[in-house]
Structure formats: C-alpha cells, structure tokens
Amino acid sequence: MATMTSTPAVAFSEKETAVPIRVEDVHKYYELGDTRVHALRGVSVEIAHGEFVAVMGASGSGKSTFMNILGCLDGPSSGKYLLEGTDVSLLNKRELAAIRNRKIGFVFQGFNLLSRTTALENAELPAIYARISEQERISRAKEALAMVGLADRAEHFPSQLSGGQQQRVAIARALVNRPAILLADEPTGNLDSRTSVEVMEIFQKLNQERGLTIVLVTHEHDIAQFAKRSLVFRDGKIRKDEPVVNRQIASDVLRTLPALED
C-alpha cells in the first residue's frame, strides 16, 4: 500500500483516514455478440468508515453489478475502484482472492452455506483460506457464532437450522476474518419479516458496536429503512443518494412485533 513511499507517521494517518470504498466514474459493459450491454454507466460514490448503506433499485438497474465490483468478484470496464486506498483494478487474481478473504465479508441471499458441513466449519472456512492455524480458526469461528447468537448451534448442519439461523451462520462466516467491510446481497430475500428484522438487528449491532462498514443490497423499502444512507440505482446510474430519514432501529421494531406462533 501507500505506506511504502510514506513516512511512518503519514502512513499511520493515511491508513486511519483511507476511505473504505471510493468508486470513480465506473462503467461496466458486457459484450454479447455484436452488441454491447451497459450494466453501469458512470457510477461515482464514496462510502466512509462506519457507514451503513442500502443499495436499492429494480432488477437490471445495475445494483448487482455494482455489488460484484465492490466485492472484487468482477472488475470495472473503465473507471477506478479504490478499496481502502488500493486501486483494485491493478491487482491480480490471487491478490483479489486475498482481498475477498480478508477485507470483505460476504452475505448472500441464498445463505450459500456448504451442506453437510457444521455451522462451526462453515464459519471457519474463510480462516482456512487465510491460512490461520487450526486452534485460532476454531476460537475465532466460535467467537463469530457467539456474536450472531448461535454459540449453541455450532455442531448443527445447515439442514438442521432455520432460514434465519442459516443466515446468521453466513454472517458469522463473513466476520471470521475480521473484515472492515460487510457486503450483503439481499440478505433478507429468503426470510420472513420477523426473521428479516432479526438479521437487520445483527447488522445494526455490528455497525454500531464494531464500526463495521456495511453495504446492503435490497429491493425492500422496509429493509432499507434500517440503513443510514440509501443509494438508488436506475439504468446503470445512481439516481438518488440520500440519508435515510425516519431510520428504524431493529431492536425497537422487534419489540412491537408479535412473537411468531407455531
């Protein structure tokens, strides 16, 4: 990083102040035969440390492509993406994998847990790829599971867990390498409304207490209300970028919801 050319003092301050996510005029297009399909048409945005951003938009608006670029799963066709001050487009595949592994935590709509693999082993997985020792791995995975309230479900398989519990295992997995950024792609898309709010409660807690920067893709307006800032995509561009008014606090909302009866 920039520390190589700077004095230690500057490096320290730079590291502290480096913006987690800065996107500058990013375009993304796909070549389909002779036609060029534009997914992103010049997106510029900056997400600061400790922000909680909801990304909204209809399908085809470019929000998924945007998330794939933020998650270093895909690169921009033009423009710049700086992750903690590093230009990601200059990195090779191995370095990108390392960034996905250590700097970013992913949470998906479909949970994407490995089946026939216990909650603990699922949560442990990114730490294996980070080459962390087995002992350390297990203690971190247990810690992460405790953080999402599943300490007692460590030895359960995904098939033995409810949807909400599975999503919480996925969040624990995203946290195990202690990333600074959490990317969630429709994390509540497969969940009922109460479970959705429970997941949002965890996100708010992580954002509040740990200062985790969270970017959340959703098409549900209710869910976006739990974030601090919302970006609305349409036709490959950001049409709206505004703070969330009347922000909901998940723990308060949960109190008003009736407990689900079986």
């Binding site: 799963l73 595949k93 592994n101 994407n112 997985l125 294996i128 790829y129 980070a130 080459r131």
Partner: protein, 406 residues
C-alpha cells in the same frame, strides 16, 4: 490452504458419495490388482523355468552331431556319422573346463514285459549321464563302465515306463524284452517331469550302455550326441570353445567350412528362456496397466461430473477468498485420494489373487515388491494426470457465474 485442511475437505467430499467413490476407485482397484497378479504370474513362470534349468544343470552342454553339406545336400542334426567314441574320449582328455562327458545315441523300440508292452525312447549312454543331468535313481543301481565295455543287456527305466509296464510289480531284477532281446532292469529313475525346452515327457525313457544300443540295436559305430558338464556355469563358455576346438581338429574342419557338429550351451538356453518369460511378464503387466488407464479415465469422468455438480460450492469458496490454487489443489487431492485408495485396495486384491491363483489353477506365482511399488506410484500418477484437467476446470470457473449456478 494447509494440506491437512485440504485433505479433510477432500475426504469429506469423497465420503459424501460413498457408492460413487467406490465405483470410481474400482477401476484403479482392478488395474492395480491385475498388474500385481499378472506380474506375480509372469515372475512365477520365470522362476519355475529358472528352477527347471538349474535342475537340468546350467553348466550342461549338449554336443550334437550336426548338419553336413554333402555335394549341396544339407543334412539335419544327428544324421552325420562323424561323431564317434574317440571324439568323446578326446573331449574328456583335452578339455580342462569339462568336468564330465557321456556319449549318447538313441533309438526307439517296443518293450515287452509279460502281457504288457510299451513303445518308448531308448537312450544309449555312459554311467556319467545321470550325474551330468543331476538325475538320481529312485531304486536299484546305475549301470557301470564295465557294462559299457561288455555291451551288457541292462536297463535303467524312467518313471513313465515303470508305470506302464510294472503297475503292480517291483521292476528291479525283472527281465524285459526289447527287439526280442532280454534286458535286466537294474534301476528306476526318479521323476523328472516334462522338459522345459521341448515339453516332452522326460520320464518316458529307458537308459542303457551306448555300446549295447550301437551293437545290438542300431548296428552303427557313430554317436548322435554327447552330454557334457562344465566345471561351473561360468566355465561352460570356455568348455564350449574347447570342445569346438577339439572336434574341429579331429574332424579336420577348416574355415569357412560348416562344422559337422554343434554345441548347445545350457547357459544360453537359460538366458533365452529368461528373455522369453521376461517378455511374457512385461506383456501381462502392459495389458493389466491398460485397465489402470481405463480406471484413470473413470476418475476423470467422475471428477468432471463432480466439478459441475459442485459449481455453486466452488463459487462460494472463491467468493470468501479461495484462490485458483486452493480450488485446484482441493480437486486434485480428491482425485489423488480416490486413486490412492483404489491403489491400496488394489494391492490387497492383487495379493489375494496371487494367493488364490496357484491354489485354483496350480500355476506358480511370485509376488514382486517392485511391481507393487510401481503399481501404486502409477495409480497415484493416474490420479494426478486424470485429476488435473477437472481440477483446472474447477479453478477457472468465474465466481459470479458459479454462485448463480443452480
């Protein structure tokens, strides 16, 4: 990713589809088992031949009266009349590498005892013959040099002759009739079995003094061959050239004339059979290793299916930070474990087969450690070779598409 964690992941994937994993390994199991069993068979045959040749005496030489060119007509071996007893005496006298010499001539005749009769080969020779051929007597005695000098009517019979003429009586001391002449049976030979070189029954023979055959049966002066034993196996080549020298001298053969005799060296014969059985062993191993390759293709096939099935898993792993190397080594290790597992079970089945074959078929086997080692290394190599392409395919998946894969 550390190796142990990778191996654990691979073992879990293998355990997930137990039946499929077993069927996949089966190709390698059969391949390795077949290689081990086939090489054991080939080497067993090789050892048997070696033993038989050693029993025959690898220091034995055979001197035959040979082909001759008479006015353009070439005669086959045994048809010249030039090998006589003086030649034998000269070999005995003048060849230091030679240990024993026995003159030999032969014929065939009908042998009658009581109501039984049997047609067999008659070998006329000298008492040394049995020593040269390392052929002990079962009962009775050998004939003596005195019997040779007097052309006595005595006979030593082979086991096959005994079985056919004396099913119930003790042959020693009995009199048989050969060409209307009475012969006293003085000895019975031990069982020799069929010969490696010719495949004929060596026990179907009657042995008597060569002089008796010459004078009372063939009415000839010449000999068909001589059996010679050299001082040692190493000396057999020296013995051969000494014999050739003596006989050329005595028969006045000058270059470039053809010899009217030939010397066959058992060491040569042993080498020849050794070569043949080695070729046979290699051929068997080659055929068996084809099944190893077929097994490898089976592994590749299943690994390709497995990569497709687990596209989503690969996508998840990549999204959370697995590099291409991580994914590749995961699948590579999986296929190597499959093939190595097959190799291990294959060794067992090969050993079991090597144990059962001699009991069922009676063929000799000799299990080769080298064959086991090669089969195992080869099976692992098959796992790497045929696992590489599917593993590379997995590593090259696009994580976004892999995650979207249903």
């Amino acid at each position: 990713m550390e190796l142990m964690a990778t191996i654990r992941i691979a073992l879990r994937a293998i355990a997930r589809n137990k039946l499929r994993s077993c069927l996949t390994s089966l190709g390698i199991i059969i391949g390795v088992g077949a290689v081990i069993a086939m090489v054991a068979l080939g080497q067993g045959a090789q050892h048997q031949v070696q033993q038989q040749i050693a029993a025959m005496g690898s220091n034995v030489l055979f001197v035959g009266s040979g082909t001759m060119n008479r006015g353009g007509v070439r005669l086959g071996w045994g048809n010249t009349k030039t090998l006589v007893y003086d030649d034998i005496a000269a070999i005995r006298r003048e060849c230091p590498a030679v240990s024993l010499v026995a003159a030999g001539t032969g014929t065939s005749a009908q042998i009658v005892f009581g109501n039984d009769n049997w047609y067999t080969r008659i070998t006329g020779t000298e008492p040394e013959y049995l020593d040269i051929r390392a052929w002990p007597l079962d009962e009775g005695t050998n004939f003596t040099q005195e019997d040779v000098q007097t052309a006595a009517n005595v006979a030593v019979i082979g086991d096959t002759v005994r079985k056919n003429l004396f099913p119930a009586t003790d042959p020693v001391g009995q009199t048989v009739r050969i060409n209307s002449l009475p012969f006293r049976v003085i000895g019975v030979l031990s069982v020799k079995g069929s010969s490696v070189a010719m495949g004929n029954d060596q026990d179907d023979v009657i042995i008597m003094p060569y002089s008796t055959v010459q004078k009372k049966m063939n009415g000839t002066q010449w000999l068909a061959y001589a059996m010679v034993s050299a001082q040692s196996k190493e000396a057999s080549f020296a013995a051969q050239s000494q014999i050739e020298g003596v006989l050329r001298d005595r028969h006045r053969i000058r270059q470039p004339q053809d010899d009217d005799f030939f010397v066959r060296n058992m060491a040569d014969v042993a080498d020849l059979y050794d070569q043949q059985t080695t070729v046979m062993t290699l051929l068997l191993a080659f055929i068996a290793s084809i099944s190893l390759i077929v097994g490898g293709i089976g592994i590749m096939n299943i690994m390709l299916v497995s990569v497709t099935e687990r596209t989503r898993e690969i996508g998840i792993r990549m999204a959370i930070g697995a590099t291409e190397d991580d994914v590749r080594s995961q699948f590579l290790i999986e296929s190597v474990i499959l093939s190595a597992m097959g190799g291990a079970i294959g060794i067992l089945s090969g050993l079991v087969a090597s144990f059962l074959i001699p009991r069922v078929t009676g063929w000799p086997v000799s299990v080769s450690m080298i064959a086991i080692l090669i089969a195992v290394l080869f099976s692992i190599a098959v796992g790497v070779f045929f696992g590489y392409y599917p593993a590379r395919k997995a590593a090259r998946l696009n994580p976004i598409e892999a995650l979207r894969y249903e």
